[in-house]
Structure formats: C-alpha cells, structure tokens
C-alpha cells in the first residue's frame, strides 16, 4: 500500500518542493539565529535544569535532548538531568528517560543513582509511568542491574495494565542481552506472557521468544491455537514475528503426510450406482487440522497493507501449505508491484523466486511484468526473467506479445538491456520448442538488420549457437542462412561466431556441404579479416580438410581391418584403385589446395598466435593417414551449453530473506550473517513429532508426563489427536 505521505503529495497540487525547502530553510535559519536554543550557554542551561519550576526544567530538557541529536556534548549535564528523574511530571520524566537511555552506558555509576527513583516509578499509579519506567530500566545498558530488571519484568508480567505487560515483554530480550544468566527467570515470565489475553502483549512476547530460545517449542504447544486465533488482530509487526514462529513450529510438529489420490470413475447414469475408485497415482498432501487452522488464519493477512506480512504469508503457504493456498496468494504478491519503487524491487526477487517454483500460477499476470522505459535496471532485469519463466506456460497470444516486447528491447539503446533481452529470447526458445522457430527468426532478423550493432549481433549469435547446439539436426538450414549473411556482417565477433558454426557443421552431408565453399570465399579476402575471424577461418580450414581426409579414408578400410578381415579380391582391388586415385588427387583436390593456401597465408601473418595455431594444425594433419588424434581434437562433440534463468542460483533460498535479494554471489556462500537462523527446519519425521494432544488447552502439564513433554517428545509415540486424522 502506498504511504499516506506519497498519496498526499500526489493529491495536492504539485508543490514545488525546492521553493518550500528554501523558504523553510530561511525560516529555520532565522529561528536559529533568533532563538537561543542553539547556542545557550552552559550555565544558563544548567540553571534551567536546576530550576524548581517544571516549565523551566522542561525547556531545559528539551534543549538538552536536541543537543544530543545535534551531536553536542551533553555529558556535563548528567547530574543535573538525572536529578529530575524523581519529578512527578510525566513529561519531565519522559525527557529524562530519553537522556538516560542515551548516556547511561557512558556513566554507569551516576546512572545507578537514578535506578532507585525509576524503581519507585514501577509502582506508580499511572500505568503509562510504570511502563515507561520498565522500558527505561531495561534499556539502560548497565549490566549490574540485570537482576533488578529481571525482577521488575517478573512483576510487570502480573500487572493489571496490558501496556505494562507489553513493556515487560519488550524488556525480556533487553534483559537477556544485559546478562544471559537471567534466562531461567525470563523464560518463566515469557511462558506467562505468551498466554496473555491481549494480542498486543503476545506479539512482543513472541519476538522475545524468537530471540531468547527459538528451539523451545515445548513452550508453544499450549499457546499454539491461541496464537493462531490472535494472528488476525495483532499489529503488523507482531504478525511478522508470530508467522515466523508458527512456521518453525509447524515444520517441527506436523510431519508431511501424503496419501494416494483416488478418483471416483465410471459413475453410472443413475446416481445410486456406485462409482469405481481409481488410484490416479498422484500424491496429495494431507494437512494436519492444526496446520490447516494456521493456513486458514493466514488468508485474511493477504489483505494486509504491509508488504512484509504478505511475503511472510506467501512463504507460509509455499513452505507449509499446498498449491491451492499458494494460488490465492499470487495475486496479493504481485500487487506488491504497485508499492513504492524500493519495496517493488525487493518484492520482485520474491516474486521471481516463487514463480520459479510454480510458473503457471503467474501466467494471468503476464501483462504486469512488461517493462516500462522508466524502470530502473534491477527492476527490468527481474521483469525480463519473469517473462521468460512464465513464457512456456503462456497462451499463443501472450507468447507473441512477449517475443515482440523482447524484440523491441533488443533494439534499444542500453547495452545491458540489449544483452539481457537477447538472452531472454534465447531462454524462451529453449523453454518452449514450439516457439523456438519464431524466436530464431527474431534473432536472425536482429542480426541481418543491425549488422553494425556489435553487441547485439554477437550476443544474438551466441544465443543462436546455443540453440543450434541443443538441436543440431534441425538447424542445418539456419547455418546456411547465417553463412549467406557473412557478406553483410561486419562485426569481428559475429563473423568469428558464424565461421565457427559453419565449421561445426562441416561434417554433415559431406556431398552437399557449404563449408568448403564458405572457406573458398573467405580465403579470397583473408587479409582483410580481423584476427578472431582469421583464427576461425584457419580452424574452419583444418576442419574441412580433416573431414575431407576422413571421408576419403572411410571409404577405404584402415590397414588393421584389412588384416583382420578376409576380403574379396574385387573389393580389394577397388580399394587399391581408390587409394591410388586419392593419392594422386590429394594435391590437386580443391580442398587440400585451399587448406594449403590458408596455411601459406597464416604462416606470414603478423599475429604470432595465429602462426602458432597454424603450426599446430599443420603438425596434426601432417599425415593424411592418421587423423585419429586430429579428429579427437577438432571434431570432439561439444557439450550442450545451457543458459538457466539467472535466479536459478537463488533457488532454495528462504523467501523474504536478504540473502535472497543479494544472492550467494554477493552475500557469500553462507548468505548474510544470521541467514541460517531464519531458514526453516526440515519437516519432522513421522513419529518423531510431539504429541498433538499437547496443543489441547485443557491438557495440563500435571496430567501428562511432564518430563517427556519438555523434551520435545522425541519418543512420545504415535496416535496423537492431530495425527490420527491424517
């Protein structure tokens, strides 16, 4: 949801911000020089703080607080300020507390003096004062008082006012940070607060639980259903913490159960005829009723205005639920794209990640992923990826729109955009063989129309090469077209790429191959070629020559075979004839002439690299009768390249996490620090889960075996209430 500040600025007549800023800056400056607030002398401020009049004290405190934020030294006022901590005026208290929170750490001894007064406020009649006192005491980073704080928390847990109970829930992690030894007392308080009636007390308690002891799920059992019920009423921040907790809890308490799907088939004409149950062979997930309770409670949260909540619900459905639940969440997830651009960027990573898991769900929203010219790079990059992910699942109409769009951006002016668009076209073609012809055409057209756009052409050729390599048999024609296009192509890289492709195809249909012909044409203008192209021409020459040799030797059996096999004289004679013929022809055959000519050219080339290569090939192919090694080197089958979606590397990363945004390349193999803690545990094995009856509220700790309950019920056995249903 847009923030009110953004909406307001759009609704009201466009205000000229700069003018307003200038005006207010002037006003600010005049007030700066006019009022004494900025440069009040030490003694005067001291006097205000020491005054008996609340109004003066308040004014003094305001100035001190302002000075804290201005970065001016305020420690000298410590005693004068802290003296006021016992002041009954609540406003004075507030400001003193702010000061204390800032400076207690720098001067713990003096701060200790104030503790007594704060403690007194813990028993004040006004709940607001009590809550504030508790907050301040726990917030002062003075480890000595940890015991006092933990006592105050204990007392706060039983307070009448929910505000104080909330403050004590918030104080628990702070106290733990002060002194981890207070954990036992804090856990007691925590288990009380987790069961609080007020939803806004439970939220902070859940956060505290996650910080102190996320593994103690035994504390959650009896509150589970209550937490699920309160989820809708909580504020958004508590919802986030609670969802996090419940996701971990569910993974550890509800084993993934599946059952065979049976379908009633062959239903007769009359409804009373029993149908036949047929096993469809599919596995359906069976949800524990308690888990289903959570998933159903999550649904209304999809209408939350907080994008983080929506992502949490989506991950809840993704990691715990079934695809039916996920289906409901896709719309709200995509709706995050209308948020401010910063949220949009982060949300897109999550959308891509979810789309990789189940692309068909995202197809109806394809038009949302089309790129606007105003999109920043990280947005269009992800949108392009989304388009290619859903591409194979789209209808023909959408497919053609997507390809046209990609084509449009492939001709753009931003180099990155061109590169990514062309790659995206390639991914589309790979993913959906039926449209690959169309994609192919688009790519070829790009090359033929924009021969001067070096980047576009070389990128397109790389993609084409990948596509051809994946399915070599059906692309014979393409290679011919490309070769024809050599005349128009000026980019060195592109020419090299095409020549290489021709070389790869030199062995197909030896009688009717264009490779020698291409070589002939290229040889004529060899001197004008760029170095990469020259290298490829040399390679092409070597390949063509090798094929020529192989073909000739194939038609005549190798000496080994001849020895092993008894052959008819007639055949033998024929072979001899052939051999003689080929020997004679060898030096005059156009291919060998061409090969020698290229060698001659490269031998006197300026590039030593090229000369070296020529020497290598010459040595390899020196003996026309042993081409085995050369074949191994030159005609080795090339591995089929694959161009996965860029976000494939992010697969498996936790939805919503920062590591997902950065990827492991940036954040390191372990992700952003603390990533592992947020990762969900694996599903609990069936039989290892805690007893489902623990979640029944009426089951008291006394009635059940206390020891085994606390141990997380490792060997508790089966037959729990929730499980029996499954």
């Amino acid at each position: 949801m847009e923030s009110i500040s953004r909406i307001s600025s759009m609704l009201e007549n466009a205000r000229d911000l700069t003018i307003e800023a200038a005006q207010s800056a002037n006003a600010g400056r005049s007030s700066k020089s006019g009022s004494s607030s900025r440069s009040i002398p030490f003694t005067q401020l001291q006097k205000l703080l020491d005054s008996r009049n609340d109004r003066d004290i308040l004014e003094g405190l305001r100035k001190v607080v302002s000075m804290i934020y201005q970065g001016k030294p305020c420690l000298p006022y410590f005693s004068s300020v802290v003296k006021n901590v016992a002041n009954p005026n609540i406003e004075v208290k507030k400001l003193v507390y702010i000061y204390l929170l800032h400076y207690a750490e720098s001067d713990p001894d003096l701060a200790l003096l104030s503790v007594n007064a704060i403690q007194k406020s813990l028993t004040d009649q006004n709940p607001q004062v009590r809550a504030m006192a508790l907050r301040t005491m726990s917030g002062m980073r003075v480890p000595v008082i940890s015991q006092i704080v933990s006592l105050a928390i204990k007392r706060g847990c039983a307070d009448m006012s929910p505000h104080v109970r909330k403050a004590s829930a918030l104080a628990i992690p702070k106290c733990y940070r002060l002194d981890p030894n207070t954990l036992p007392q804090l856990l007691e308080c925590l288990s009380i607060l987790l069961g609080d009636k007020q939803y806004f007390v439970v939220g902070p308690a859940v956060s505290a639980f996650l910080e102190l002891c996320p593994d103690r799920i035994d504390l959650i059992h009896k509150h589970y259903r209550e937490l699920v019920r309160k989820l809708v009423d909580m504020d958004e921040w508590s919802q986030l913490a609670t969802l996090q907790l419940l996701m971990h809890y569910s993974r550890r308490c509800f084993p993934r159960q599946t059952k065979r799907v049976t379908k009633v088939e062959g239903k007769g004409f009359y409804s009373d005829e029993p149908g036949e149950e047929v096993d469809t062979g599919e596995q359906a997930v069976v949800l524990d009723p308690d888990l289903e309770l959570l998933l159903r409670a999550c649904k209304p949260l999809l209408q939350s205005r907080n994008s983080a909540v929506i992502i949490s619900v989506v991950s809840c459905f993704l990691y715990l639920g079934t695809s039916e639940y996920l289906k409901d969440a896709v719309g709200p997830l995509i709706a995050l794209l209308r948020a401010p651009s910063d949220i949009q960027q982060v949300a897109l990573y999550n959308i891509v990640s979810t789309a990789l898991i189940s692309p068909p769900l995202f197809v109806p929203y394809a038009s949302r992923f089309l790129i606007h010219s105003t999109d920043p790079p990280n947005v269009w990059r992800l949108k392009l990826e989304l388009l290619t992910i859903i591409f194979p699942h789209c209808g023909l109409h959408q497919k053609s729109i997507i390809v046209s769009e990609l084509e449009h951006f492939a001709q753009g002016t931003s180099l990155d955009l061109i590169r990514e668009s062309v790659r995206a076209i390639g991914r589309c073609a790979q993913a959906d063989p039926r449209t690959s012809t169309r994609c192919f055409k688009v790519l070829l057209k790009q090359i033929s129309e924009n021969p001067n756009n070096t980047l576009l052409v070389s990128e397109a050729l790389t993609v084409i090469r990948h596509l051809i390599q994946q399915d070599p048999t059906s692309h014979k024609e393409t290679v011919i077209r490309l070769a024809k296009n050599l005349d128009m192509t000026t980019s060195a890289e592109a020419r090299a790429s095409i020549i290489w492709l021709v070389g790869e195809y030199a062995g197909v249909e030896p009688e009717n191959n264009i490779a020698p012909d291409v070589l002939r044409i290229l040889a004529s203008a060899f001197a004008d070629e760029s170095e990469p192209a020259k290298q490829q021409i040399l390679l092409l020459a070597a390949k063509v020559y090798l094929h020529y040799l192989n073909n000739n030797s194939n038609s005549q059996p190798s000496p080994n075979l001849e020895q092993e096999q008894e052959q008819e004289p007639a055949v033998k004679y024929y072979h001899q004839q052939q051999q003689q013929h080929s020997q004679k022809e060898k030096d005059t055959h156009p291919i060998s002439l061409l090969y020698n000519y290229i060698h001659l050219l490269t031998r006197y080339d300026t590039s030593y690299d090229l000369r070296d290569r020529a020497r290598t090939f010459k040595a390899l192919l020196s003996n026309p009768h042993s081409t085995q090694l050369a074949s191994l080197l030159l005609l080795a089958p090339k591995p089929v390249p694959s161009a996965p979606s860029p976000s494939e590397t992010r697969k498996g990363l936790m939805l919503g996490s920062m590591t997902l945004v950065f990827g492991r390349e940036v954040a390191g193999p372990a992700g952003v620090r603390g990533y592992g803690e947020g990762e969900l545990p694996a599903w609990v094995e069936e039989g290892q889960q805690p007893d489902g009856r623990l979640r029944d509220v009426h089951v008291d700790l006394d009635t059940a075996d206390k020891g085994s309950l606390l141990a997380g019920a490792g060997g508790q056995g089966k037959g729990g209430g929730g499980q029996a249903v499954g």
């Binding site: 949801m1 109004r55 699942h393 109409h397």
Partner: protein, 566 residues
C-alpha cells in the same frame, strides 16, 4: 530471528547526518555507512550489501523529499520489514511535523523526534507505528501545538497550564487498566467542525504496442481518507463499479477491485460478505484506507486468442510515435490525441469509440474538476532519446512548448489544456534528430531509409522468412497487425555504406514516448463512492444532530505511465 531494527540515520541534501538513533547492537557509524553507501554505483538498489564494512552490513535506503533515510542491519531478516519500517517512520514524522518532511523540520523538533523514535521501536523491536496511538504518548509543544488547534484540538501550549491539565483529564477518562479499545484511534477526539473526506487516486500504467493496441493497462488505486469527527464514529463506505445491472453491482466491484489491501481498521469479514462495503472506525486524521488495482484489459492466460475487448481502452489522452520520416529518415513525429469525448457521463455502460466526432473540445480550465466535468491537466509528453543524439532540429510543436533537455536526453513537451479555448483534439510535435558529427555523410538514400523503416515495423520480415510458411499458425493476429506496410523490397540487399547510414539514423530514433497527465473528477476504473454513512446507533461521542460534512474527490494521474512503443 525476529525483526530487529539496529539504527535509523537521516541525512540531508548535503550528506550531513541530521538524525542518528541507535536501537540495538553496534551498527556502523552514520559517516562510514554513508561513505560506503555513496561508493556504490547509481542507480542504487533500495537494499545494498556493504561487504567492505566490518562487519558486513545490509542497508535499506529510502529517499523522501530532500532527505535520505538509511536503516542498517547486520543480520539477515525479512528485507521488506526494514523498508516498511522506514516508510512508516516517515509517515509518522509527517503526521507530527506536518508535510512535507524537510531536513530542517527534523532539526527544529528533536525533542518530538526523540520521543517518537523511543515509542516507535523499543530495543530494536518495532512496537508502535500508529500515529493515533503515538499521540497518546508523545507530547508536542510549541509550533506543533498549532496543528492541534488547527484540527480543533486543545494543543499543549508551551505554558503547561490549563490546557495541559485538560489533556491529562481527557486521558484519565479512559480506563487505564484495559487496553485501548481501538489501537489505531485515540480516545476522546473532539472536533468543532466535523468533516469526512474520501479521496480516490488512481495511477495508470499503460503500454501500447506500435500498432496502438494496449498490451498492458493497469490502474493502481488508493483510497485516502480524512476523518475529523468527534468520538468514535462507525462508518460504512460503499463503493460501486460500472458494468452489470444494479443487482450484480456487488459482483462487479468484486471483479474490478483486484488484490485489495486495507488499513487494519477495516472489518475484513464485512468486506468478504458484501464486497464494496467498507465498515470501519477510522483513525483520527488522514490515512490510507485501502489500496487496489484494476486490470483495464483483463487478460485470460492460456487463451491463445487476443482479448476481444482489448481495443476499447479508454484514456483521456493518447500518443502516437512515428519515426524514420522525411527525406533522410531522420525525422520523427509525435501525435497527441486528446480525447474529444471525455466522459462527462462515463457511467454509461457502452464505451464509445474515441476520436470519431469533430475534433473540438473545450477544456474547462476554471472549475476544479467535478465528476460531471472532469478536467485534464498537466499534460506532458516526454520522449527519451538515445545517447547518440547530439541535438534536435526543427522541433515544432503545434501546441504548447517542447524542449530538448540535454542532461536527461529527452524532450519534454508540455501541452496546455487550461486555456479554456476550443482547441483541436490533436497536437503534433515533429523534429529531426542530429547525430554525432562523424555520422553526417548521409547521401541519397530515400528509398533505403524507407526500406529500413518498413523493416522495423514488420517483425516478421527478415531474410529468414522463407520458413515462415512452413510453420502453421505461428504469426498470430497482433503480430501481423503490427506490420502496417507489406514489404515489397524484402529481397533487396542494401549496399553496405547506405545501409550503415540508415542504421545510424535508425539508431537515433526515439524508441518510445511517455505521456503524463492529471485528471480531476474521473477514474479509469469507474469506481465510485455510492455512500458514506455514519452508523449513529453504534457510534459514540458524536453529539446530537451533528451532520458531518462529507467530500469525495476522484483523481487520476499518469506519471509517465502511458507508454507508446515506436
């Protein structure tokens, strides 16, 4: 691993840190954080991983008016939580300090900011971001007190006299031992004039294919609500959408308003039961009640045929881009069509074909734009140009003024609509691009330019199209329609030099145009407020016979949202 806010830093335009508030742990100092942040290349993503800092820190950044908000985090957590937190803090600051939030406002009100920051987040845990609830706990004095009197509240003046006691008394009135009945509304609201305002704002985003057909048209709406009503009012806001008979009104709003999100005050069950009805107790003041989106050309995934209703997209203005014109193919033309049949009565279910009647249309510049006579304002066409364009010649707008902004590499064409005079429904801007100096040797290539132009407009054309016949049914309708001209010269092979020149010119052509505008009194989705009722039986504290003033405003903006591909 729950969300932990470590610190919040605010910087002004001069990169001075004007606010530093540390909640938890030991985040990097504002200075080192900013220097690392600035070291990243622009445009910077909203979330950055600064691995050079020790320890490596993630930082969420939000720019707001002239300030920069940074929120560092040393550990992995939900990335959006940080961003949402910063946005919420900005909202709260604006609520307390008055919009717009400027650097000096923060500097002048540190005492209030300090209290707010303390209340919003406690020891790293976000605990209270509702402005109304914060009003309870944060004292505002001095300048800001005026705001209170402005909204009819007893402000706490610097003199802690009677008025402050009044505040205290008011607070004592609520039962301290029970929690707040309504967390988002402060108790004991008093207003002398009771007013309710609904502002519905839609932001349109349309992409038009070169053929002029829309391929994406989404309108994202927000309902802003201003409640200045005493006591605890129970409100019911009923929305409706066009289409269907009155009996199916409910279903039409359900269909039109997609993926709605609501302020926590809205009763979700009621909405689910009766779509279109928002039942809520509003917070005091201004807030966003709901957000939604509308797909103006609903698409059905998986269906192979193009949507039949796709062409009937109705927009108050449209643009068309034609490139590669003129003798040398270096001219372009942008045609802006102001819709002459602006829907005074858009509610009529039958959308009319735009642009059929006589092109004369009076833009009422005087009125503020009621729903009966919507006004179109701030029409700006921006034409981004490729980096190679050195300058433009013959930039001739038929109306308004157009300027080439070298810095932004784009043409801004402002078309006035406020003159009130009867004007032609179309306006044309033409221009010639001049590329880099060395690419000037273009000679005698009229025909070739034409050829290359036709090649760009027909995506199926290429030297590879011999195969196209063998693929049955591949070129579907919209693609075929894109090619306006049938290329006769497809086998023509251009000579290298000519082609190079044509290519160079083509590369300088604008690829798309964007249209921005503002319309008051009209929404593309057609959503309307049917009624806003105060349920007097359930409301409390709203005196007898008080009839609050109610106001409704509709507005549509396009912020470069309409994009036409060339």
């Amino acid at each position: 691993m729950s969300a932990v806010i470590e610190a919040l830093y605010v910087y002004d335009e001069q990169n001075n840190c004007i606010l530093e508030h540390v909640y938890h742990a030991r985040p990097p100092s504002p200075k080192s954080l900013l220097s690392q942040f600035k070291a990243c290349p622009v445009p910077r993503p909203a979330l950055l991983y600064l691995s050079d800092l020790s320890p490596a820190t993630t930082v969420a950044s939000v720019y707001h008016s002239n300030t920069l908000f940074l929120c560092p985090s040393g550990t992995d957590q939900n990335a959006l939580t940080l961003l949402e937190f910063v946005h919420r803090v900005i909202d709260v600051f604006e609520d307390f300090l008055g919009p717009p939030l400027l650097a000096h406002k923060i500097e002048n009100n540190y005492d209030i900011i300090a209290q707010l920051l303390g209340e919003i987040c406690d020891g790293g845990a976000i605990c209270n971001t509702e402005p109304n609830a914060l009003r309870e706990n944060v004292e505002v004095a001095g300048l800001i007190g005026k705001l209170f009197t402005h909204v009819g509240l007893p402000g706490s003046s610097p003199a802690l006299g009677a008025s402050n006691n009044l505040v205290a008394n008011l607070k004592a009135g609520s039962n301290p031992n029970s929690g707040p009945a309504i967390p988002w509304r402060r108790p004991n609201v008093r207003h002398t004039s009771n007013e309710l305002y609904v502002d519905i704002l839609e932001d349109v985003s349309v992409i038009l294919a070169p053929s002029g057909r829309p391929i994406s048209a989404v309108s994202s709406g927000s309902i802003a609500f201003t409640a200045k009503v005493s006591g605890i009012p129970e409100l019911v806001l009923t929305l409706s959408a066009p289409g269907g008979s009155s009996s199916s009104k409910v279903t039409s709003i359900f269909r039109v308003m997609q993926s709605p999100v609501f302020h926590p005050c809205v009763r979700l069950a009621r909405w689910k039961e009766r779509p279109g009805e928002l039942s809520f107790v509003p917070p005091d003041g201004r807030f966003v009640l709901a957000g939604y989106e509308v797909d103006l050309i609903p698409s059905y995934g998986g269906v192979d045929a193009p949507p039949s209703r796709g062409e009937k997209l109705f927009m108050p203005a449209m643009v068309d881009l034609r490139t590669g014109l003129g003798e040398k193919g270096s001219d372009f033309e942008v045609r802006l069509t102001l819709n002459t049949e602006f829907p005074g009565a858009y509610t009529s279910s039958k959308p009319r074909a735009p642009g059929t009647s006589t092109p004369s249309f009076s833009f009422g510049g005087s009125s503020s734009g009621s729903s009966n006579a919507p006004t179109l304002e701030a029409v700006v066409v921006s034409i981004p140009l490729p980096a190679g364009v050195r300058r433009l010649e013959n930039l001739r707008p038929s109306r308004g003024e157009a300027m080439f902004q070298q810095f932004a590499q784009s043409v801004q064409w402002k078309v006035p609509t406020k003159d009130g005079a009867s004007v032609s429904g179309t306006a044309v801007l033409s221009g010639t691009v001049i590329g880099p100096l060395h690419a000037g040797d273009v000679e005698d290539e009229d025909e070739d330019a034409e050829t290359s132009n036709s090649m760009t407009t027909n995506p199926l054309l290429g030297y590879y199209d011999e195969d196209s016949a063998s693929i049955p049914g591949k070129p579907s309708a919209p693609v075929a329609s894109k090619g306006s001209k049938v290329a006769s010269a497809k086998d023509k092979i251009l000579s290298a030099a000519q082609q190079k020149a044509a290519q160079a010119t083509k590369a300088l052509m604008p690829r798309s145009v964007n249209l921005s505008f503002t319309v008051r009194g009209w929404l593309p989705s057609g959503i309307r407020v049917d009624s806003l009722i105060i349920d007097t039986r359930k409301s409390r504290g709203l005196g007898e016979n008080v009839k609050p003033f109610k106001g409704v405003k509709y507005m549509t903006v396009s912020r470069k949202g309409i994009e036409r591909r060339g």
